[in-house]
């Protein structure tokens, strides 16, 4: 058995760049425990997104090992990877990526439909998720009628509604103002505490970093620093 939610060994991701190759991830060996509230930080182009995509089974490494939720992602068929994502992984994106034709309720309900959860239970779960993000009154709105902050809260609700083991959030605050950024970080921090969901961020936003309990700094695809932040709750008081 494996007690790590993510475990990588000598992870390498190369992209061809003309005659040379670009090492987006270079020898990354990292592991995350269940329940962590951690972030991969570093300047733009340092490989954060690449790492998250591989951990989320959306991309595969050039070489090296990556185990997610006890599964070696290299050996997963695309169908099994899809099943793993459906059951255990939630994504939050910089651009929210809500489904424009669906209402807030329907957007949040979507992952539950993929899980074939019954109607009554779905209703209850969506209502809970809406409560967690404080949007119970916007259930019937369409994404185009929401502010950026509201959209991202819907996206968070959509990611957490199925209570996945792991949520991967790539620059979730990049399109938000300071107030909304703090707002959603507090929400996610609470969900991490209350539901035990593991959150892993990719960010270069100082505001986000203040909430992280652990910061892994990538520079040019290499782990430069991996530190536990004691005063991770500091941001909440600001």
């Amino acid at each position: 058995m494996n007690d790590k939610i993510i475990e990588t060994e000598k992870l390498l991701k190369e992209y061809p760049m003309g005659h040379a190759v670009l090492k987006a991830l270079n020898n990354v060996s990292l592991s995350f425990d269940y329940g962590e509230f951690a972030g991969v930080v570093g300047p733009s182009g340092s490989g954060k997104t690449t790492f998250l995509n591989i951990a989320g089974t959306l991309d595969s490494p050039t070489s090296g090992l990556c185990r997610v939720l006890g599964q070696n992602i290299e050996s997963l068929s695309s169908r099994n990877a899809a099943e793993l994502r459906t059951k255990s992984i939630g994504f939050i994106f910089q651009t929210f990526n809500l489904l424009p034709a669906y209402t807030v309720f329907e957007n949040i309900e979507f992952p539950l439909l993929l899980l074939k959860i019954g109607k009554d239970e779905r209703k209850k779960m969506v209502a809970d998720a809406l409560k967690w993000v404080g949007l119970s009154d916007r259930s019937d709105s369409f994404p185009k009628d929401l502010s950026g902050g509201e959209c991202q809260r819907v996206a968070i609700a959509r990611a957490v509604v199925k209570k996945p083991k792991l949520i991967l959030a790539d620059e979730p605050t990049a399109n938000l103002d300071a107030e909304n950024s703090h707002n959603i970080m507090r929400t996610m921090r609470n969900l991490n505490k209350e539901l035990g969901i593991t959150f892993i961020f990719a960010t270069h936003d100082e505001k986000v970093m203040r909430y992280l309990k652990r910061k892994i700094t990538l520079v040019d695809g290499k782990v430069d620093n991996d530190q536990i932040t004691e005063e991770s709750d500091k941001g909440e008081k600001l």
């Binding site: 995509n53 899809a82 990526n97 489904l99 034709a101 990049a174």
Partner: protein, 391 residues
């Protein structure tokens, strides 16, 4: 199944573009049903008229008779066999004698057919009763409206007809137009006059002879003996069928163009939609849908136009189709050139079968033009799309 529900939502909520595509689709559906129904009606109506006035339940032809060979008509007559004369007596058959002649009117000469029919017959809807002679020296003749128009003959006119009898002797006689019958069936109208069978047999020296024996509708043909061959309705209506099929094929150009436009519209929308919604597609994959499911979703989105199209088609198509079926379709003047029996007003016939096959045909085509662009989804790399601008 959740995918069809998503698909319908996506398409129904996509706004004006969806409705436009669906409208073009509905036009092709309605026009296919309408045109096919119109030609079905044309065939049914023409067939019915021909059965009533000309064909009955089928015809016995005397050996050698060929309606398309005017020269063989001279020899196309033969003794009515016992079996046939029994049927005629029982009023389950009527015989017709056909010969060639020349019609003279105001110094002009027309080659015509002379047809003898029993005034008492009840098999065909020809008003043969008026051909009964009244011993006033006038021999009544019956002509159709086309014949009247082409020859200039009117009711009451007297005209001369010359012919060669069975022994090859020329003879001539005067007839009076006692009636101009209105009929849609050209075969009993064009270039011909009808006279009483008895008179004709006498003047042509063809006693108890006939060319055609038409039996009553729904009567089983029997072996009529030597020289007489039975032609069933399938055979007799073959020309009509071929003609209507040719007309239908000609008219189908209209809906082939419409359906082509509709399919291009759907194909175009789907291609554009996949291109514009790469991020949405990648998000669906990130949330755990397999690519095949997303391909199914987009294919069904294209097919959801069918549902919209059926709704739109029902809104304007059903009243339109019912209206034309009840009120009929007024044929433009000069439709005689169609070459077969046609009323002034055509009543289209729409069957459930027709609707079913039309819809199935359109659905299959939409499925194809929706599926083909959707296959591109397999090539999308969600990791690449989702990293977005911060590449």
């Amino acid at each position: 199944m959740i995918i069809p529900v998503f698909a319908i939502k996506n398409t129904f909520r996509a706004g004006i573009k969806s409705w436009l595509n669906a409208f073009v689709l509905s036009l092709s559906i309605v026009s296919i049903i309408w045109l096919q129904g119109l030609y079905k009606g044309m065939y049914d109506q023409g067939t019915r008229a021909m059965i009533d006035a000309e064909l009955g339940g089928g015809q016995y032809w005397v050996e050698g008779y060929d309606p398309y060979d005017p020269f063989s008509i001279e020899d196309s007559h033969g003794k009515i066999t016992h079996v046939l004369s029994e049927m005629i007596k029982e009023k389950s058959a009527a015989c017709i004698l056909i010969a060639r002649g020349m019609l003279y009117k105001q110094g002009r000469m027309y080659s015509i057919l002379i047809k003898g029919i029993d005034p008492e017959q009840e098999i065909l809807s020809i008003p043969s009763g008026i051909l009964k002679e009244k011993n006033n020296g006038i021999i009544p003749a019956l002509i159709g409206t086309r014949m009247a128009k082409n020859s200039g003959l009117k009711k009451g006119d007297i005209f001369t007809v010359q012919w060669k009898d069975s022994k090859g002797v020329f003879d001539a006689m005067n007839f009076q137009v006692s009636e101009v019958m209105k009929t849609t069936v050209q075969n009993i109208d064009n270039n011909q006059i009808w006279i009483s069978l008895n008179t004709m047999q006498k003047i042509f020296n063809m006693h108890s002879e006939a060319t055609i024996v038409t039996i009553k509708k729904d009567i089983k043909p029997v072996n009529a003996g030597l020289n007489w061959e039975f032609k069933n309705l399938d055979f007799l209506l073959q020309d009509m069928k071929t003609l209507v099929q040719a007309k239908t094929a000609g008219a189908s150009i209209l809906y082939i163009i419409l359906i082509f436009l509709a399919m291009i519209a759907v194909f175009d929308t789907q291609t554009l939609s996949i291109f514009k919604r790469k991020k949405e597609i990648s998000t669906l994959i990130a949330m755990g849908m397999t690519k095949n499911k997303v391909i199914a979703l987009f294919t069904l989105e294209g097919m959801a136009y069918d549902i919209l199209a059926v709704i739109i088609a029902a809104i304007y198509g059903v009243p339109l189709l019912i209206f034309t079926a009840v009120k009929g379709w007024k044929m433009p003047a000069g439709t005689d050139t169609y070459g077969f029996a046609l009323g002034d007003v055509l009543y289209p016939v729409y069957s459930l079968n027709l609707v079913f096959w039309t819809l199935l045909f359109v659905f299959i085509l939409t499925a194809i033009v929706s599926y083909v662009p959707s296959r591109k989804i397999a090539k999308i790399e969600p990791a690449k799309i989702l990293r977005g601008s911060t590449f």
